[in-house]
Symmetry: C2
Subunit: 423 residues, 2 copies
Amino acid sequence: MSQVNESLLTYCEQLARKARVASAQMALLSGERKNKSLMRAADLLVEQQAEILSANRLDLEAAPQYGLTAAEIDRLKLDEKRIAEMAQGIRAVAAQPDPIGEVISGEVRPNGLKIQKVRVPLGVIFFIYESRPNVTADAAALCIKSGNAIILRGGKEAVHSSRAIVAILKRAAQEFGIPEDALGQVEVADREAVGYLLQMPQFIDVTIPRGGKSLIQRVATEARMPVIKHYDGNCHVYIDRFANLKMAERIVVNAKCQRMGVCNACESLVVHSDVAAEFLPMLAERLAPYEIEIRGDAEVCKLLKDAKLASEEDWGTEYLGPILSVRVVPDLEGAIDHINRYGSKHTDAIVTNDLAAADYFCRAVDSSAVVVNASTRFNDGGQLGLGAEIGISTDKFHARGPCGAMELTSYKYVIVGQGQVRE
Amino acid sequence: MSQVNESLLTYCEQLARKARVASAQMALLSGERKNKSLMRAADLLVEQQAEILSANRLDLEAAPQYGLTAAEIDRLKLDEKRIAEMAQGIRAVAAQPDPIGEVISGEVRPNGLKIQKVRVPLGVIFFIYESRPNVTADAAALCIKSGNAIILRGGKEAVHSSRAIVAILKRAAQEFGIPEDALGQVEVADREAVGYLLQMPQFIDVTIPRGGKSLIQRVATEARMPVIKHYDGNCHVYIDRFANLKMAERIVVNAKCQRMGVCNACESLVVHSDVAAEFLPMLAERLAPYEIEIRGDAEVCKLLKDAKLASEEDWGTEYLGPILSVRVVPDLEGAIDHINRYGSKHTDAIVTNDLAAADYFCRAVDSSAVVVNASTRFNDGGQLGLGAEIGISTDKFHARGPCGAMELTSYKYVIVGQGQVRE
């Protein structure tokens, strides 16, 4: 190992060790102190926004050299309104109930032992994320709320903005005795730093990567601690034979077109054969202005002259763009089989007025969110009432779906006796 | 890859794929059906015990060739009483509330969307375990209760007993329409089978290894799905300055001596300096009949003439035998620092009559169970009221401490609307 890497390794170890030490202090903070610090951070972000805006200008100036697209540059850009929204997001986190110390369950055993299952922080979160600067504020706020320490590793494209935001959050933290090492930040650009930190389960309890599939796969492969992973969202809408077809049309258009590049957008439509002939032409007309390409099975191609024949691969594809795969099924079971086989267990919806069908769909479809008569786009931390989210889990283990402060917790058993021993 | 391994791989794939298919059916079973099947299984185990006992004799005959110790052979041996206990364990699991379908939380959003967080099974559990045959029955019962499919890989030492038990459980399952593939069993002895199954995250949701540290490390390294790990139990008892010393003596003797080879036995004693001179000699006298070797710091060696000086390594060691490390600390903070530094986050107790000290200890010690005025030996699924346990987690992620049926679950969001779309 070269000299440079050894010093990088030492740097990473110190960063992670400090976060571990800070996490022990974080676990003992009162809810009041955490909330006051968050409210103060929100105020300071607005008051001291000049600092953030000038840092953001440096990122914007560097953006062309990173080859960012216009859309990416727009997401990177901060202004007074966006900073106000960021502050509002932090206030919303502060307003939530404190997850820490919650007694999840409790009982007195026959021998008089009092057993409580009490919610505690996870410890140290290593958060690797893309370039939107507001994500820095959200993630830091959620970690303070849940009594964790965080190590932030943001995209290089937003490095100045993120640093300015963290500096302000640290000021607020300091005023309320929150250890500044609880808001750690990887200050070096070296890619190896991530690799080193992923080898430190003694300091880091969980890693949350947010970004492209290759990043998540790399992290999942290298990490020696648990990882909250966010893979594909190949989301379906199923139009049942007892669907209100006007409602179905509105839901599919929203789920597909309201924002195409996101994980909870609809990628595949499944239609009951009883309503396909009526529904598909009317839907195609509504989708026309959005220039959505339809890839369907033979039945669909008969009904829609512009449809292309879907390949086997289409059924499993998350397009993240103006393509929709469409399949006609003979019954509810057929729809559920299709979704469980080709879906990605993210978000799947049914449109129906049949109570039994809705109930069965919700139980049988194995996805993080099952939706009845609403758009798939509602599977989102904010929309579900979780407040900000640090990530979305496509796993079933630990956390599933959007992860807010609650999902950054564990628990311990507190056992109180009066001298009991085991026979 | 050789011909033999390819056929083994195919075997493993089929086993895992069948379990995946069965798990989808398991998720939809009513609590009534699961409970009736479990009650029937308990009855059949007793009624058809001749079958189990004759299989068990084959294992006992083979035991010497595996080099089992007398204690290990004793644990392997089944008799009428042990089979009755096994049946009773299954009935206790049946009597627990059904975790599946529980509405963990729910609310109506401002836009009228009804959101429920509903408990669901994890899916397929791969369970690798040591030779005690009753573990087979416990694990299978917990998986049926929690609506999961299981793939059992027991130790070769108990292979005949385990097969006989599973055959009977399958009979009971079949009577109530529970898919027999939900109780999968690796029927081949090849060690590679475990390696192959650990590479199948598409079929297996979580692996639970139970056994020695090297097995757990191997599984954690190779597995491409989450693993519930059970590492060391370096458990402490801290005797506070305000302890009832008679109670303290009783608790330490129980925690250390009642069963020395288990993970929740006390390995290290921490004593407040105000009471060390009075407490340690009286404790040493009580420990004498158990021939416990004491390894202490300089202060301890002054007070106890038979004590040896502890090395740095001693503080971090899980002896699982008749050795106890002992340290004198100046205050509560010193005790907590010592425990958080050298402990394994398993089970740590305080003996005190000081409410503030007890409260602070419970919050500041980062262990799966913190105990006030009782033996560490109570951190056990049965003692905590969880019923049978499939394993004990020393992680903070997903599950911590003993894992019963509840810990084998995940959740999904069920979102019910009336046509809502996102703005």
